[in-house]
């Protein structure tokens, strides 16, 4: 059964013969009179592309590699009915200033038709610093919302029904504390924790290699994620405690293959940590979620999603012996590629984003953020966000691409490229395994070096004009300037307000209790097999600040010092 291929040997032989005749005849004649524009054609990540694909190119692929939607190996989609049953979630990320400012934006977006919330946090919050920390200077509320205490989370979701709308939290090194605050707010409101839905990013390994936000050394950071996954599986079973993020690997220069392979390597490490701590794979794997980019190379991106689903299904089934289908399906949130956007002729960004969004839909994503046309240089304005939401709505409602599942499946080219990408990913995973696994290689800077090399190679391609950016290095129009863009204004009072509130909280709480709880947390952290979440929730409830909790653990684990990679 496994070896059943898609075509009969006779058909393949005929095609090969006909192709040879065509190549010798019509094709050769045309090439003689008019050579092709380039000597070789390849995908963005360097996979060679043929002129044309036929059944002969996929003769070796067993039919079982394609399967059916909602069934192993999930190549064609993770749900049996896909968009016919439920369209993807439009999930635009937002977050800036004080919790109230973000809360207001949320309400605007819900009104515009957004179906899920997504929060960006400011850098001090991500890095576990309070708003009055000296290192937070100039950063409070800049790239996301500032959170210091549980009260800020209450303000952030004021008037929003947490049982009804799913909440995505783009939080990393300090994720376990923000989760503790979120759960505390939900509990205090009397929500049923089993009904809470949402996603935390909380993917530490990709932080060390891509986003570069960290607090502790690599291993304690992975342990915190392990604690979070295990606690969430029992307490908030519908929350995804981690979103394995290939997006950022791409953001720092990784190509499509590196994006999947490195993300899968990190997935393997996390699963090993959790199963080693005694949890069955089927008890947490259904809540692992993913976050990929939809980049410029249209077909390669579509195949990337398909190949990633297949690789993941096989890893979970074969390596971790998962039995539940839910443990093997790769659910993915997609964001279009911010780095493909240009400041020059920024309206072109609408077209870029629309095409990338279409690719994500054809690739079978579960939720999506489309970039605002000003996303390359500012936090998007309301107008830009609305256009971005409209882009998704047009794809969903007007152009009839959601009626048929995996509409490109079976295309000779798509199936061949999907398989080629899968094969390359396995090769990379084997190498990572041979070199000692993802955690060790993160510590050594191996991934960092690969990504920096890839980023420099991409820059050189743009510099030489080999990689085209329309309006920038081709068809550049001297008359067109970077238009005056209305840029979202920053709120200067934000920092002071956060600091004032922080002081007020510190003055009105039981400090002695906080100190003794922090001591207990530190003691628990010294042992590897105590879950730190319950104590953290106690601390949050007693109004300990994010900064206090994070710095207490630095005492045990120290801070991270990056390897020298340029």
């Amino acid at each position: 059964m496994d070896d059943v291929t898609l075509f009969s040997q006779q058909a393949i032989d005929d095609i090969r013969q006909n192709q040879a005749e065509w190549e010798g005849g019509a094709l050769a004649a045309t090439l003689k009179s008019r050579p092709e524009e380039k000597q070789t054609y390849e995908t963005e990540s360097g996979i060679p592309l043929k002129r044309i694909y036929t059944a002969a190119d996929i003769a070796d692929i067993p039919a079982s590699e394609l399967g059916f939607p909602g069934a192993y190996p999930f190549t064609r989609g993770v749900y049996p009915t896909m968009y016919r049953g439920r369209p993807w979630t439009i999930r635009q990320v937002a977050g800036f200033g004080n919790p109230e400012a973000t809360n207001q934006r949320y309400k605007y977006m819900i009104q515009t038709g957004q179906t899920g919330l997504s929060t960006d946090f400011d850098l001090p919050t991500l890095l576990g610093l309070d708003s009055d920390d000296p290192m937070a200077f100039g950063e409070v509320g800049r790239v996301g919302v500032a959170i210091d205490t549980v009260d800020d989370v209450e303000r952030l979701f004021d008037g929003i029904d947490l049982e009804k709308i799913s909440v995505s939290l783009t939080i990393n090194p300090s994720a376990w504390v923000i989760y503790a605050m979120f759960v505390t707010v939900a509990e205090e409101r009397g929500c049923d924790l089993h009904k809470l839905t949402g996603t935390l990013q909380a993917d530490p390994l990709k932080e060390y290699v891509a986003q570069k936000e960290w607090i502790y050394p690599v291993r304690p950071a992975v342990r915190l994620l392990r604690d979070l996954i295990m606690y969430s599986a029992r307490t908030t079973p519908k929350i995804n405690p981690v979103s394995l993020s290939g997006y950022h690997l791409s953001d720092v220069g990784g190509n499509a293959l590196q994006e999947i392979a490195f993300t899968m390597a990190f997935t393997i490490s996390y699963c090993e940590e959790v199963t080693r701590a005694g949890m069955d794979i089927d008890d947490f794997a259904p809540r692992l979620s993913f976050f990929f980019i939809s980049h410029q190379d249209f077909f390669e991106q579509i195949c990337k999603f398909r190949a990633a689903r297949r690789v993941y299904a096989k890893i979970m089934s074969e390596r971790f012996n998962a039995r539940k289908p839910e443990s093997m399906r790769l659910r993915v949130h997609v964001q279009t590629a911010a780095m493909s956007l240009t400041k020059v002729e920024h309206h072109n960004n609408l077209m870029r984003t629309a095409i990338q969004a279409l690719g994500a839909v054809l690739g079978g994503c579960q939720s999506m953020h489309t970039n605002g046309l000003d996303e390359a240089f500012a936090i998007p304005t309301e107008e830009a966000m609305k256009l971005a939401i409209r882009t998704q709505q047009i794809i969903r409602e007007e152009i009839n691409v959601t009626s048929v599942i995996d509409p490109l499946g079976g295309s000779y080219f798509i199936e061949r490229l999907t398989k080629d990408m899968e094969d390359e990913v396995w090769k990379m995973l084997d190498e990572i395994q041979e070199r000692g696994g993802a955690i060790k290689l993160v510590e050594e800077g191996w991934f960092q070096q690969k990504l920096a090399d890839s980023a420099y190679a991409t820059f050189k391609k743009i510099d030489s004009g080999e990689k085209i950016s329309v309006g920038v290095n081709k068809y550049a129009d001297a008359a067109s300037r970077s238009a005056d863009v209305h840029i979202h204004p920053y709120d200067d009072h934000c920092t002071q307000l956060q600091i004032d509130r922080l002081r007020a909280v510190r003055e009105n709480r039981d400090d002695a209790r906080i100190q003794s709880l922090l001591k207990e947390l530190v003691e628990q952290a010294r042992s590897d097999d105590i879950n730190l979440l319950p104590k953290t929730i106690e601390l949050v409830r007693a109004k300990a600040t994010l900064g206090e909790i994070c710095s207490a653990l630095r005492e045990v684990w120290g801070s991270y010092s990056e390897p020298m990679i340029v």
Binding site: L123, P124, L126, L127, L129, P134, M135, A136, F137, G138, E139, R142, V143, Q211, K212, E213, D251, V252, G253, T342, K343, V344, A376, F377, A378, I379, A452, A455, Y456, F459, K460, I462, D463, S469, V472, N473, S482, V485, I487, Y490, E562, M564, I565, V566
Partner: protein, 153 residues
């Protein structure tokens, strides 16, 4: 020692045209912005243009960066920022440079910086702003031009 003193006049003449000494640049990240892709690409571009690039790594305060710039005797500090905090951070950086008597160090800003913030940056002491889409040639000449205009010191 007597010899070198005797040759004084010739040497002075030499110094005036001594513009081909290696340019040293501190490529720095300020504040909490972890986006180091651009900074690292710029570091390689400058190295490939024959400059010596001191890279600071992440999470540096303006004070750290000024201290490093002084000890390394760099001609230029290049800072790439994508966090939106450029105005307060560059203002503080330039203030620290003045406080340490190191105004001879040139400051080049890059990253995601909206044009509306250019005047504020130039006013606080930034010497040049390199746009996000800049190609290698532009980044290199921005620096060589600044150093040539300042002269060797």
């Amino acid at each position: 020692m007597a010899d070198t003193k005797g040759a004084g006049a010739v040497i002075e003449a030499n110094e005036a045209s001594h513009t081909n000494a290696t340019i040293r640049v501190l490529v720095a990240k300020l504040g909490l912005d972890g986006h180091d892709r651009g900074a690292k690409v710029v570091a390689r571009i400058l190295r490939d243009a024959g400059m010596e690039v001191v890279y600071t790594g992440l999470y540096k305060s303006p004070k750290d960066v000024v201290q490093a710039a002084i000890q390394e005797d760099v001609d230029v500090i290049g800072v790439s920022l994508l966090s939106g905090s450029h105005v307060p951070l560059f203002r503080e950086l330039c203030r620290c440079l003045r406080e340490e008597g190191a105004e001879h160090v040139l400051v080049v800003a890059g990253g995601v910086i909206p044009e509306q913030d250019y005047p504020a940056l130039l006013e606080c002491g930034v010497d040049a702003i390199v746009p996000q889409e800049a190609r290698a040639g532009l980044i290199v000449t921005a620096i060589t031009d600044l150093v040539a205009a300042r002269g060797r010191i």
